[in-house]
Symmetry: C2
Subunit: 331 residues, 2 copies
């Protein structure tokens, strides 16, 4: 009887959640979005795919939405958070790597000359990421990354990196999930770095975070199995690679995709090319006052071909300046 | 008002599902399992991890359960279903591959001599899988695989392969999900082959199916993007590889894992080594009358070291003969 009573109580709680709570909150699920074509396009799309008995209706299991991370869900300028983390790791590990003093890009990073270190291009960046993220178990890395991302403050906003997330995108994630969507991150960022804060910051569990990754080795330490992170890149989850990862890991084409740079072009193209209603959206960083302004030719998050494609194909291009009345969550 | 009424109706449906339906059905969520130590161990484990306020309680997002597929969720003898599919593909494609007539293992397969073809070992098997599963888009492959697996009948049971699933394991999947678990397949089988039937057969959506995979190429056919399957193996999801995939794709250590062969040893070991209550379970094929009997030395699904480990570490070893009163679902 106790058990039945508990169930009935639980059921009433659900009644409240389903029937009452939304009546209060549903006035505007996207309060940080100004009224305009971007917001209208989002709301119209969600309305279409959730309306049963119409040709555009999409069953819940197929409501897959994929989000780029850097520059789409959180700030990526002036340098990717993960790269700031790697620089801190280089400084911390320098004592035990004397060879780094004479080796680029490590030498520049130890000297605090990030610009010169970045001049080595993507390969040099990947090398730094691989070497500073390896040589420990996956569990040890998770602790280190979580500690850093939730406490280290960036230079401009003076907030921990894990709070440099866009309030309008948090509302969008919640709005989609409230409408039966499963939300995934599909990012060039390291998968284990993102997982260190994604669940708390975005409500996205580890199994819905897809990113770049290094090789792992399963081994026994005495009787205890462990996964060792090796200093070798395995998957680079960018451009074409995003579509390949979506197929390999999700196995279904998204019906909505969100990005901000040329690295997201293929993911948006693949999403938009599916049958039925689709939402392809780019966040355009045009607000130097409240955040950053950059697109074509930016050293990070360059938006050039994808912007052309968005204009030609009538994808949604969000102006941070005009479409968002808030950038970061209140502290 | 209409909208509110709909919500309230939906809420009452949920009340029924939560409060009423389980009272009727919950008498025994595992009716195909005979009373005995295996069933007791499963039920006791689920009871422990779902009981709030106890040290063994596990929050819902962490209730991850991973299942091997071949020999654990469906029949793998006398030859893996996917290999039977590949053999049919070889015969179908032979006309356009004249070179196969003089090349093993293709020549043997075309002649219907499976045993001789299998003598080439795992590399030869992987080669056949890669070559017969490639040269088409992922979408074309999905259609071909689904058609085959839902219509082709096996020689012994005369049923479509997609119905050669174990009724007790279907009940176990449902029982775990009803208790907040997220159920994943983690199998050496090809991920796209399994996805062709996993959602319908097991209630497991594509994004919770992890398997071996070949390389993919993103390309444009005119204006239309497509993913082409290449004849090259990318990931072999077996043994150590299962643990690596679990970390890479799920990002959390399972609290329950289910297998039937030495290919599952590391996954069970990794799962069992986590803190708190854990369930590691092996299905032991000891019923030649109703299914098949095999373990040490079997050419498929060999169970040797994992059986030793299970006995030494007191993992659950299910006797199909004694623990299961039903093998296949009623037709």
């Amino acid at each position: 009887m106790k058990w039945a009573a508990g169930r009935i109580l639980a059921a009433f709680a659900v009644v409240w959640l389903i029937a009452v709570a939304p009546l209060a909150a549903a006035q505007d699920p996207l309060p940080s979005w100004n009224t305009g074509t971007s917001k209208q396009a989002i709301v119209a799309f969600v309305g279409r795919v959730t309306k049963t008995g119409t040709p555009d209706f999409v069953p819940v299991p197929q409501r897959i939405a994929t989000f780029d991370n850097d520059g789409t869900l959180w700030i990526e300028q002036p340098v990717y958070a993960q790269y700031a983390f790697a620089i801190d790791r280089v400084k911390l590990l320098a004592a035990s790597h004397p060879e780094w003093k004479n080796k680029e890009p490590y030498a520049s990073l130890i000297d605090g000359n990030v610009e010169s270190a970045l001049a080595g291009g993507e390969d040099s960046l990947l090398q730094v990421l691989a070497s500073t993220h390896a040589g420990m178990t996956t569990e040890a890395f998770e602790r280190i990354a979580r500690e850093w991302v939730t406490t280290k403050r960036d230079a401009r906003f003076k907030r921990p990196y894990s709070t440099l997330v866009y309030q309008p995108m948090l509302e969008l994630l919640n709005y989609l999930r409230a409408n039966g969507f499963k939300t995934f991150i599909v990012s060039g960022g390291g998968v284990e770095f993102m997982r260190a804060y994604a669940e708390e910051a975005y409500g996205i569990p580890p199994e819905q975070v897809i990113g770049s990754s290094g090789r792992l080795k399963y081994q026994m330490r005495g009787d205890v199995p462990e996964l060792l992170k090796l200093p070798a890149v395995d998957v680079v989850n960018d451009r074409d690679g995003k579509v390949v990862s979506i197929q390999k890991i999700i196995g279904r084409r998204p019906i909505a995709a969100f990005g901000n740079s040329d690295g997201d072009l293929q993911m948006l193209e693949w999403t938009a090319a599916g049958k039925g209603a689709r939402l392809a959206l780019l966040v355009h960083h045009d607000d130097a006052t409240r955040e950053w302004a950059y697109d074509r030719g930016s050293h990070i998050g360059g938006l050039d071909k994808a912007l052309d494609a968005a204009i030609a194909r009538k994808w949604v291009v969000v102006s941070m300046k005009n479409d968002w009345n808030t950038i970061l969550p209140k502290r």
